[in-house]
Symmetry: C2
Subunit: 226 residues, 2 copies
């Protein structure tokens, strides 16, 4: 399948690498591909820049946001939350009619760790993505675990934890759920309903960040025991 | 142990009944005891009024907020979130020096289900309780499950799910953790740190409410898989 991924950070890299390894045709989108390839410094968390990662993942293409979305059957938003709406707007009409999996979070690190949320409670970044791409079929998911668990939930307790999906288009959600199961091996996926539920799953990331701070390790996930 | 419980609703009733059954001396506090005993209608969720519940739980005393807290070794805030600060202020100096377990949530049902939160993200009801009772030792906990699971977590999957505590006083948290284990049987308790973490555990209740809406049953809980 042709898949576009918006965002060149560790989340975009991890998902792109996994999907390329499965034989998908992956293009990562960025604002300015030449500028992205020129960056040589690590990110704030010590992750390698895209240019370095790309050397061992050369099957993955790099292009503009719009070109990464063009021709793709499915597009994933893997940007830093602060950059999400600009990336989606830049992809523009290329997102029309497509399943758009938004996995970004509205994290505000301006006051350090743990972050607060720059949209929450009565609105969500997922809903803002849907407004910015009104003809895309937004599905909010994957945002509640780290990048390694997103693509390989079995790494933690055999995958015995829960992923949430929400969105306004039932067929798009069904496609996203199949994709999460087949590509990444997710077993327990809860469909919460429409996209307003992103308010709560994005809110969960505030708790994620605080557990990360208190335990000092990112390999954990939430299970809805029922 | 002498225990005061602020709030006469289903959460207050359930905790009071459980603690009385364990031999604790429990007084439930309310604004106006005579008015509470006069109420005969069920609450919005179909739960029995205190007066009816009290007939089969007559060991539990009913008194004012201040008198329920007076002489108690530990006080639990089990009010509707909208009533929490008034109850705490009414208990006033009787809370000084005591472990005050805040289990209430800042739920705003004014626009129906699912509720939003009337304080969140950069503040919490737990922190507001601490400001309203500056000499109490506030521990936020129990607010992320329903009342039956609060007092009997083993009812669900043998208790294989997680409870959070947070607060600014380490000794008070240790006392609360021992109490949760011994009185109710909690096994997996995570100490997240100071009381600002209530922002995230109260935020989790927004997700709780949405899972309740989508699954139409309240017997579930969150486990931090790690």
């Amino acid at each position: 399948m042709k898949i576009g991924i918006l965002g060149t950070g560790v989340v975009g890299q991890t998902i792109a690498g996994k999907l390329a390894s499965l034989g998908h045709e992956v293009t990562v989108g960025t604002r300015d591909p030449a500028a992205t390839l020129k960056k040589t410094e690590k990110d704030g968390m010590g992750n390698a820049p895209f240019s370095e990662w790309h050397k061992s993942n050369s099957k993955v293409k790099l292009d503009t946001f719009a070109n990464a979305a063009a021709g793709a059957e499915m597009v994933l938003v893997a940007t830093n939350g602060m950059a999400t709406l600009d990336a989606v707007k830049a992809a523009g009409k290329e997102l029309d009619g497509k399943v758009l999996m938004d996995i970004s979070n509205p994290l505000d690190f301006s006051k350090g760790m743990p972050p607060s949320l720059f949209v929450t409670n009565t609105d969500s970044l997922g809903e803002q993505v849907q407004k910015a791409a009104p003809n895309a079929k937004v599905v909010k998911t994957l945002n509640t675990v780290n990048a390694w668990l997103m693509v390989d939930p079995g790494k933690l307790q055999g995958g015995d934890h829960t992923m949430f999906v929400c969105g306004n288009d039932a067929a798009a959600k069904a496609k996203a759920v199949s994709f999460l199961k087949e590509a990444f091996g997710w077993k327990d996926i809860m469909d919460l309903g429409d996209l307003t539920n992103a308010r709560a799953t994005e809110g969960l990331v505030a708790l994620w960040a605080r557990i990360f701070v208190s335990t000092n390790q990112p390999m954990f996930a939430f299970k809805v025991v029922r």
